[in-house]
């Protein structure tokens, strides 16, 4: 069985290599291995939506989950992965991160930056894609920053490491738009920028929606007139800034609103109600516990940082109990990373909702799988282990809510994009290559090896909070 696994790995490795080469030649990655049949055998399957199967198997066909259960027949020619003693859960969906955004997270020069889109600047070579994949994440909502009351358009990507930017995009995912409230928005800037208060922040957002409503009317009017055969109707100018806000008003784009303090979030919900739409998610939502009833009534999906607090004033009232509290008060809650490091152990961050507030295992796992999938309206594709869904799966060494759990194999669309043994093999190869290069250079130049070591990309001070959002 091990051999079979290795064969599969080699095949995938080849496919990836081909995809990357194709990418280099034509700028488009080739879909690979989509017709493969794989069975993950004898694992503890944590479906998230339908309980656990103590000794279950999963049949993967054409990138989808074909069958799940205690008795899955292995079709002839299928690749079998023996996962006895291991745990399988759905790939983690990180509803808030900034990876692969080419460093351009904030277009902070204007207060309303709804014309910019993360989707247009995806960097498929960001090494954090691979690192996060190795933490069991398969889908990421990679977002614009929180510098503006109305931020940019975000992107939902699948971590198909090796594919080009287009190849990463989650096909058919509902579009989203970032908004932001509070300190990050009102913070002093050079040059100065309106708004600099929470009042101004509400004013800018309200103004943007009024303008977008006017813009919609212009277009509706134009369409009505042309439909009636009026040849004198002039086509309104396309406005990139208002287009995405209008989509929010029409319910075609989801509003993800960065908010910390209860008062600002409450006011934002009222503003949305004033314009007839619903806020999809509050990002960070640290004081959400103070308005749990209102959040549940409005239908927000709170997106939590598990246990961060005190890194700024608006985070001083945060508690790690909020995730559980909001769940108990009826909200569908998710836990996000907001950074490449945190994203590598979202399973642990979910476990904190058991420690603080007593969620059960399934509720905890849903925080980082099914619930974010629901919030992003991609739960028909990902977020749980069910027949028909994408085969985005993680095989863990231990129960994923244990601190000792390490992802062994990660599937996206039924293909292996991370495997711990393969990773070790690649390390050995790289080490050999490094040694060979160093030996060759030593012969010619004789400089000490240390000098050729590239410097670290950034210092990481250890005595300051790791939180910066």
């Amino acid at each position: 069985m091990h051999n079979l696994k290795n064969v599969a790995l080699k095949r995938i490795c080849c496919a990836l290599f081909l995809a990357v080469s194709a990418c280099a030649v034509r700028g488009i990655a080739e879909p690979s291995q989509s017709g493969g049949v794989t069975v993950i055998k004898d694992a503890t399957v944590l479906t998230v939506s339908r309980g656990n199967i103590a000794k279950g198997s999963i049949l993967i066909r054409d990138g989808k989950i074909a069958e799940v259960g205690p008795n899955v027949a292995v079709p002839a020619g299928a690749t079998v992965i023996d996962a006895a003693g291991k745990f399988v859960m759905p790939g983690i969906v990180d509803p808030h991160n900034h990876i692969a955004s080419d460093g351009g997270t904030n277009e902070g020069t204007v207060a309303v930056s709804s014309m910019v889109s993360i989707e247009e600047t995806i960097d498929p070579t960001d090494i954090n894609i691979y690192r996060i994949l190795a933490g069991g994440v398969t889908t990421v909502h990679t977002m614009h920053g929180s510098a503006n009351p109305v931020g940019g358009m975000n992107a939902v990507i699948k971590l198909r490491w090796g594919k080009d930017a287009r190849g990463l995009l989650f096909e058919g995912a509902k579009p989203t738009l970032k908004f932001a409230l509070g300190e990050n928005v009102k913070r002093a800037r050079t040059p100065a920028r309106y708004p600099s208060t929470r009042m101004g922040t509400m004013d800018v957002i309200r103004d943007a929606f009024i303008r977008a409503r006017g813009y919609m009317r212009e277009w509706d009017d134009y369409r009505k007139r042309t439909a009636a055969g009026d040849k004198t109707a002039l086509m309104p100018r396309k406005d990139r800034e208002l287009e995405s806000i209008a989509e929010v008003l029409r319910g075609e784009r989801l509003a993800f609103v960065h908010g910390y303090r209860a008062d600002e979030m409450l006011m934002a919900m009222r503003l949305a109600e004033e314009f007839g739409f619903r806020i999809r998610s509050f990002e960070h939502c640290l004081e959400g516990y103070k308005i749990a009833n209102e959040i549940a009534a409005h239908g927000v999906f709170p997106s939590m940082l598990s246990d961060w607090w005190a890194y700024k004033v608006e985070a001083y009232e945060a508690t790690p109990y909020t995730t559980a509290l909001l769940t108990r008060k009826g909200a569908t809650v998710m836990v996000h990373s907001d950074g490449a490091e945190e994203a590598r152990h979202l399973n642990q961050e979910a476990a904190k909702a058991i420690k603080y507030g007593g969620l059960n295992e399934q509720e905890a796992l849903a925080l980082v799988t099914l619930n974010p999938a629901k919030a992003l309206m991609i739960d028909h594709r990902v977020g749980s282990i069910e027949p028909g869904k994408d085969a985005d799966l993680v095989v863990w060494s231990h129960h994923p809510l244990s601190i000792y759990a390490v992802p062994q194999t990660v599937f996206v669309d039924g293909q292996i994009y991370f495997d711990i043994e393969k990773d070790l093999e690649m390390r050995r190869q790289m080490e050999e290559e490094r040694k060979a290069l160093e030996a060759r250079e030593q012969k010619s130049a004789g400089t000490p090896a240390e000098r050729r070591r590239p410097p670290a990309s950034a210092a990481s001070p250890t005595n300051v909070p790791r939180h910066n959002d």
Binding site: Y289, W308, A310, K312, T319, G357, S457, P465
Partner: protein, 436 residues
């Protein structure tokens, strides 16, 4: 009527205050027995099944399968529970930092590059909300350290409970924080490279010159302190010099040098410097300590590691390179303590250890790295870090594996006091859970 209500209120608050005094006061002489628990002594006795721990007058009076219960002792039924030494966080600025982004609440970084006379203890806010939040998860002691310049000042080792910073101090001066001048690539400040503004893109020769100048300056300070010590010895009426006076215990090897260094080159330079200057040091941070493991092992210099929850510092490093640092150091025979350096994250110290186990460290070594190892490195292993007779009663009682996130803490003892498991977070949770 109103006065009566007021009187009752005063009486009630008086009673409340009294009970608080009883539960937290330094004069708590109550005896406790934790019975029939699994005791991880972290000492020579190893792990004891169905054992008991007796606490009298703030000390561990007895540990074992058969103990004598003092009369009047409060009994904690420990069946199914586990007892560990209170965890020790060997690097932090807890008590000096309240809200990270608000300067006026942060007292870590003074002006000037050489400030050995500064003492963290004199600026510790004992009412900081970070203390209860940290201790209710079983962290019972922590370093509180300044961080600016080359010589940042003196760190204190604090118990995470007490009425004043004096009561909390385990060591008023636990070590001299030195940001060893860096040659770049991250790490300590003061060398002109790495994190220093304008460090990137500068010619290496220039960085090297500045680095050498800083190291020379540092050596000169130490040299002056030695002369000063001699002068004072020869003539007690020598005019007092606060700065040199503060350095005397360091140059005598009586005070630990907490040398911050992160790159392999900086770590090697710091260790060589300490050897040449005859200082007793620990490397703090130690990001690339694995690459410098040889010299650390050979010179027996311990490492107080920064958080393992960190991204690899180079694109081509293994994805788990930081998680695996503790395992690699253990293999290389380097002594180390694990830390959760951000004050608000102090409670996550056990998870630093758990993550290290997931990536190759033995569970026993991981437990040591948050209990007895930091005690040894900080020179307090005679008092803290293990559950042994005569030691200070810093204990954490849990319903399971201390390193697992899901585990619940049942009791925390700090210097023999049974600490209420309350914090700002539990209070807010209870208050808003009860909102109709």
């Amino acid at each position: 009527m109103q006065t009566r209500v007021r009187k009752i209120t005063i009486l009630l608050s008086g009673l409340l205050l009294l009970s608080a005094v009883v539960s937290l006061s330094g004069a708590d002489s109550r005896a406790y027995v934790i019975r029939d628990a699994k005791v991880y002594t972290m000492g020579a006795a190893g792990v004891l099944e169905r054992a008991s721990v007796v606490i009298i007058d703030g000390k561990i009076a007895e540990v074992g399968v058969r103990v004598r219960t003092p009369s009047g002792a409060r009994v904690i039924q420990g069946r199914g529970l586990e007892v560990y030494p209170g965890m020790i966080n060997a690097m932090s600025s807890i008590g000096l930092t309240e809200v990270g982004s608000v300067d006026v609440t942060v007292d870590t970084t003074e002006m000037g590059d050489f400030k050995p006379q500064l003492r963290a203890l004199e600026a510790v806010n004992w009412d900081s909300e970070h203390f209860p939040v940290a201790r209710v998860n079983g962290v019972t002691a922590s370093i509180s350290a300044p961080s600016g310049g080359v010589i940042a000042g003196q760190a204190a080792l604090l118990h995470l409970a007490g009425w004043t910073s004096e009561e909390m101090a385990v060591l008023k001066s636990a070590g001299m924080v030195i940001n060893f001048p860096s040659l770049g690539g991250g790490g300590g400040r003061g060398g002109g490279g790495g994190a220093a503004p304008g460090g990137r893109g500068r010619p290496f020769a220039e960085i090297r010159r500045e680095h050498d100048r800083r190291v020379k300056e540092l050596a000169e300070w130490l040299e002056k302190a030695r002369h000063y010590a001699k002068a004072v010895q020869a003539n007690p009426s020598t005019p007092r010099d606060r700065e040199l006076e503060a350095l005397v215990p360091l140059v005598r090897g009586e005070m630990l040098g907490l040398m911050r260094a992160d790159t392999a080159r900086d770590i090697r330079n710091a260790v060589e410097f300490a050897k040449k200057e005859n200082l007793k040091v620990a490397i703090v941070g130690g990001r690339d300590a694995v690459e410098a493991a040889g010299v650390l092992q050979k010179e027996n210099v311990p490492v107080i590691l920064g958080s393992v929850y960190s991204l690899p510092s180079r694109r081509d490093d293994a994805y788990d390179s930081r998680y695996a640092v503790p395992a690699r150091l253990a293999e290389a025979g380097v002594r180390f303590a694990l830390t959760s350096p951000s004050p608000s994250d102090t409670r996550n110290l056990p998870f630093e250890a758990g993550m290290s186990v997931a990536y190759g460290l033995s569970r026993e070594a991981a437990l040591k790295a948050i209990t007895i190892r930091p005690a040894e490195i900080l020179g307090v292993a005679d008092r803290l870090g293990s559950i042994e007779q005569g030691k200070v009663a810093d204990l954490v009682v849990t319903d399971g594996d201390l390193l697992e996130i899901r585990t619940q803490v049942k009791n925390v003892f700090i210097a023999g006091k049974n600490i209420p498991l309350e914090s700002k977070h539990t209070r807010l949770y209870e208050r808003y859970m009860s909102r109709p």
